[in-house]
């Protein structure tokens, strides 16, 4: 985490003086982006640098659902199962994902490629059902689109066993570079 400290330091200038405590969430997010999860050594380094109580960092990590203390698969599929998505086919979609990947929500495939989770409302009800693949929304999902998505992700490199040292640094780039950074705005799809 040491290599990120200069970046954290640069954020301070847009915060008022005395707002060090506020940096806990942004720093943790950045650490997780870098490593894929938040390790014990990251917490120790952050506590040292920010001079906040370790308890504050731990309580934040256990409160917010997006933070992870353990590595996950290369591709994190998060299916929304809230009201609108359920009304537009999320329950079928979730079943399809379980069958295709052979895992239940909360599990990672043995080859370390896919982790599957269920989430509540991603704020994209107009294009339900929605699936989040790492950071990107895949909207208006259907059985065909899921099939296509899994084929596409299978081509992406970066298989890894759960527990091994992950490399998440290229994830965002990979998602951007692929032909399917879908959004509600067709102009951005090309």
């Amino acid at each position: 985490v040491k290599h990120l400290i200069p970046e954290f330091e640069s954020w301070k200038k847009r915060y008022p003086a005395g707002f060090e405590s506020s940096l806990v969430l942004p720093c943790l997010r950045r650490i997780q982006e870098d490593r894929g999860y938040v390790a014990d050594e990251d917490i120790a380094a952050l506590v040292d640098w920010l001079k906040v109580p370790r308890m504050q960092v731990e309580s934040v990590l256990s409160y917010y659902t997006q933070f992870r203390r353990k590595p996950i698969g290369r591709w994190h599929l998060q299916a929304c199962r809230n009201v609108t998505c359920s009304m537009r086919g999320a329950e079928t979609l979730i079943g399809d994902i379980e069958t295709k990947l052979g895992i239940k929500p909360g599990e990672t495939t043995p080859d370390g490629r896919f982790t599957f989770s269920l989430v509540e409302c991603l704020g994209s009800c107009g294009t339900a059902p929605v699936l989040m693949v790492n950071d990107t929304y895949r909207e208006n999902m259907s059985a065909e689109k899921l099939e296509q998505l899994l084929l596409e992700l299978a081509k992406e490199p970066g298989s890894r066993k759960p527990g091994s040292e992950p490399n998440f640094a290229d994830q965002r780039g990979a998602a951007k570079g692929s032909a399917h950074e879908l959004g509600s705005d067709p102009a951005e799809r090309k």
Binding site: L25, Q56, R81, S86, M87, G89, G123, A128, S184
Partner: protein
Amino acid sequence: MPGTPLIMNFPVTGTSHLLADYLARGGYKTVEKALKTMSPGDVTKEVMAAGLLGHGGAAFPVGRKWSVIKLDDGVPHYLCCNADEGEPGTFKDRWILENAPHLLVESMAIASHALGVRNAFVYIRGEFDRPYRRLQAAIDEAYNAGYLGEKILGTDFALDIVVYRGAGSYVCGEASGLITSVEGKRGYPRNRPPRLTVRGLYQRPTVINNVETLANITGIIANGAAAFRKVGTEKSPGTQMVSISGHINKPGVYEVEYGYSWSKFLYEDCGGILGGKDLKCVIPGGISTKVLTRAEVEPTAMDNQSLAAAGSSLGSGGMIVIAEGTCMVRLLQVMLRFYHHESCGQCTPCREGMGWMHRLIDRIVAGNGRPEDIETLIRISHANDGTTICGMGDAAGYATVGILAKYRHEFEHWITHKRSLCDGRLEVAHA
């Protein structure tokens, strides 16, 4: 668009969210006008005169919230824009963040001028990746062009905007939970009083407004309160951005002038019910608002007063349309699972109550329901009302009582016959 649009009044293209396009639409002219020709008090007075209501769900008058801030109290004030859009059914703020981020930045600059703010924050939910990138790009553009930072437009006004990303918590959309989160802690809501406009972020006076609320400020200052009041109704001036989803042919974000007809909106603008089905009911403003049956909704107008008269609320404008044949028991099960999942655990009635209600509804759906379960659900709902720090427990109760009052027979049927009256369906078949 149903009525006059105030925010969605430009064509969305591949570049319409960028600074160059915004400037071509007359962007950042209004902040210049506000900084150079209006005192902070003038701006607040104009917003007050416009009668702008909060668009986050509570419809609190913005001018009244702003006027609590004392400009000469000698302490820093903060402005937080609430972009933690998490109420199921709501996705309107995302439209602004993705398509009109500069409108939000300019509005925040004007609001900061009015409120004596040096540091402002946008609290955006952690899952919003593209909206975040668009907004951050807009803010970077604004810094480079001199609309943010020190000595804005040659005046002494300075402003920094930080985009603060959440990390997955529904309760952080509640104003005081949001503030605790910006302080880098668990997003626990706080007891009021003191109001956040008195003691908010780091115990300083803080104004928290929703994205859509703030986005209206530029228009009000540019064209004046009188022009704003020409749109909408007497008591609900302006427009509401409605995000409509569910069993509807054309889901999406629509900007609706207050007072517009519900029937016209549903059947003409949104293309009617999916698969040509009949309408069963509508959740008008996010799942925390009371469900309205077809008979209640069709004759009504879309504004806060008409909705209140019908026994519900326009809330956050997150409208979920439910077609005939949908199982209301399963629907409530999904809702209660959500509330149980999102309860922050601070207050006993909500922490225990949500889990209890979730277990009861699961038991009914599993075919093990008991006749007294319906009364127990209602009793827990009432026990939550007003006994918790934030409104989440209350909201879950309203939603539950609302559905039970209107569709009690479906619950009784499942308990008696151990199966759904509507085959447990949430989806409707496409025609």
